[in-house]
Amino acid sequence: MSYLLLIFLPIVLSLLVYFITRNTGSAKYMALGFFVVMLIHSTYLYTQLPESGYMLLGSFLNIKAFDFELVLQVDRLSVIMLLLTSILLILVALSSWTVKKQAAYFSLLIFFSGAIFGVFMSTNFMWFFIFWELTLIPMYFLVGIWGAEGRVYAAVKFFLYTHVASMFILLAFFLIYKQSGTFDMTLIKDAVLVTPALIWWLLFVGFAVKMPLFPFHTWLPDAHVQAPAPVSVLLAGVLLKMGAYAMIRMVILMLPLQAQKYAWVILVLGLLSLLYAGFMALYETHVKKMVAYSSISHMGLVAIAISAISFDSLSAGLYEMIGHAFIISPLFLIAGFLHHKTGSWQMGDMGGIMQKAPYISAIFVLAGLGALGLPATMGFIGEITILISAIETYGTWLIIILLGSMLSAAYLIWTFRRVIYGEMSELVMKTDFTMSKPEFISLVIFAIFIVLFGIYPQPLFDMINQTFSAYTSIGGAL
């Protein structure tokens, strides 16, 4: 029952939090407290997990006629996602410390936290879908109300685009139910389905939009750019991961045979995303858009890892997902911060920020180096593991991945040059770059994560490896 509360309490209470804290400004403390509790809870869950398979946390609201039962089950993969989510939520709460209209903002964050926990905890397709869609609502408002100048367009586009994609997912779930008589994702396999290929394609399109993969990515640059910086972190760190998470589940657990057959589709789209978004980032002069395209480019790497479908590659992919969350977040935060302070998005208006805000600039550079895959950052570990595992599966020609690496070096170093280094622009000279303490602390924590797990990734890999070896033992596609 307490796990049910973990999902529904935030959803229900978010409204209450809003009306309680409307006039007091204590919403942020409540939200932070909430997220800390969630982190503790997920950590506890992790310690309780069995060696392999699922841990049932309870099932509710059973409707036999439609198999419409809220089953809460977790395995290692989902708990890793829960941990990642709750850590990011805490950091997001910290970095939103000085946001306007706090009560509403943090209530929406709390609402989001419930929905996202639901996504990772439920194994019934219908409820999975319910939570999957529910995450859109707070995001729509967070982007639409607190966003930058193009927020309305971005929010509506994001909402509509991802919602349309979800319809394909829903249809696939319906087909699964029709053909197998169950909505339980732990029971689905290719063999019990009549038209697995159709279902695969429907699901793939739905998840590809969320990840996002070329050519379904265009909602992302708009949404990420217009969203307030902490919300961009949520979008990149959590929302995109939903797509990758679902993709992993589909590929190895639900439709392994189809996945083998159509792995090349994921591979090709992953490669295209990697390079296409890399070139986009190279041409971009808008700071946050550059980061957004870099984010797409890295999700392309994740897709390549997933497409290789091996124990190694999935571990690498999951690591890269986590690494991407920690690396891209400070980039978004700082890009948003710079815009907030200078009022400009253009790299041309900036320059020499290192002289005014050395520590913030240093974290930007560190995260950027992480994104371009410098050793001793999480980005490198992700890149090398994906490279090795992709070559393992597909052979020599996959070294083409490194073209993406070159591109990311080019656009990031060039961005550093234009934004951080060089002579101070007039705009920078007259801008004051003081940052509130909690915001800075969250940046530092991100930086520590990037370096810590970049030098010593083994603890993370222990968790990840166990996840996928567990799948091997229950007959996943590995």
């Binding site: 990515h217 690591y319 052979g395 890999f461």
Partner: protein, 616 residues
Amino acid sequence: MNIEIYFLLLLPFVGAVATFIAGKQNKNLAFWFAETIGIILFLLTFYTFITFSEPLSFDFNWFTFGETTLPFGIYIDNLSLVMLLIATGLGALDIHFAHDYMAEEKDQARYYAKILFFIGGMILLVSAKELTGLFVGWEFMGLASYLLISFWHQNTAPADAGVAAFLYTKFGDIFLFASIGLLFYYAGTLDMMKLNQPAVNGMISTSVTHMIAIFIFIAAIGKSGQFPLFPWLMRAMEGPTTVSALIHGATMVNSGIYIVARLFDFYVAAEALIVVAAVAALSAFIGATSALVQDELKKVLAYSTMSHLSLAFIGLGAGSLAAGMTHLVNHAIFKALLFLAAGAVILSAHHVKDLWRLGGLSHKLTLSAIFMGMGVLSLSGIPPFSGFFSKDAVLASTILNPQTYGLISTLTIIAGVLSIAYAGRLWTLIFAGRPRDKELYDKVQTPSKFWIALPLGAMAAATLVLGNYQEELTHFITKKDHIKLHVSWLLPFMMIVLSFLVFLVYYFYNRRPNLREKVSAQPLMKTIRQVLLNGYYIEAMITWFAKNIVVNVVARSISWSEKHIIDGAVNGMIHVSHATFVLFGRTHSAKVSNQAGAMLLGALAIVMIIFIGSVL
């Protein structure tokens, strides 16, 4: 377990952090932290050297992902040890020298922290057992050089130079990265000792090993500034001169040669040495000729680095590990000497680097002039300085190897003898003759003996003394008895040409400056000079390609398609739906009669369909 090795590997990084923190508290602490750590590092290396009997090898695993484990072992043998001695020894001297050179710099903490990080990267690189560890050190140095070259990031030129350094070397790096992936796949190991064994590299088809060897060599090209990835080396002169000394003498550029030397047997098996020799010969020629006309003190040295590293590569490429490596060692020392001496001149001359404004400084900077002169002699290959022996060996090896005999050896000899011309020109323009810029000359101060002259003297002594120990050095590196490469006509030939060139330079630059002006006013000479001055326009070509092809054609067209096709399709949905809206809206009339009529007609039509349908 050898505790000193751990210290050696970790101290630079820990020390960098400590230096930074200490330096933030008190400006002066940074130097003393760095100096102490630098000396400790050298002492540790030296201790390892004197207690060294057989290669030290430690196996570690970095991490396991899936079923694959990435190793991160330490392996220190003779080759590594020599590199370590260079890195820590020259590094310590460089830090010592920086006390005065960087005295005016406000941000001491950042400078020394980065220097230590740089040295740490080199130590890691040469102590790595597997390519993974090597790659980590390799990238660390790329980063450190980027940060140090653009140390004065508030100015445009150093900031740009940093970008160039990072991107040129990164271009090479991705090939090294690729070869790690490929070797893991084909050889199943990244251990460089194993890769050298025929049992391992024989398993793989030669075409694959050849490709991998070329890939690794591309990375080496990037790091060691060979054709065509050398322009960053010249741009890097924007950084502090101490940093240039570190890059060119102690650390970074040596790594490219080191990796080829480390995988020498692999290269032999891959039949890739000839490629190394060919590219290097071309680079040697480009470097040597371009060095002849540079106006800026440090640029002459930069081109000479390029040319001399090429000589080392040629030595390796011609199949002589001994020739290549000894030349690398000798070059490291005299090049660090030359750079620091140049630094002394620049410091004394208030950061004037233009050769045409210097001149006649030997009266004021006697010590520097002497030490730099020794460096020049060593570089030019004049006995008994160490440079002579190794250069001679390289030239001999190209002549003796039938594969390289011909074009490659000719280019090599030209590059070899030209070094006296540009180095002599450099020395002459700085120290000989009468001062050209009187005002500047008056302001020149004699530098401190302890902080400036001492490191110069130490290096000058080293380059002189090492000349006597070439046999031992060779033996130590190759672990074999040295087979003396000997070409009987080479020495007399070299001596004659060198003397001629010395005379020419002296006459041309010192005795008859107006003749020089006349010659250089010739249109043909002017063109040649422009080409050489710009390093054969290689940088311009690469920049043009990157800017116009990659960015303005590829990236721009992708950006266009994003806007007009991919996202255009999404936004087009708005127009489509609006058009549909208008279209459907026509069916809707607000008039009651129309509505009623339409309703009736519609209902009747459907009923008709049903009627016909049910009759059929």
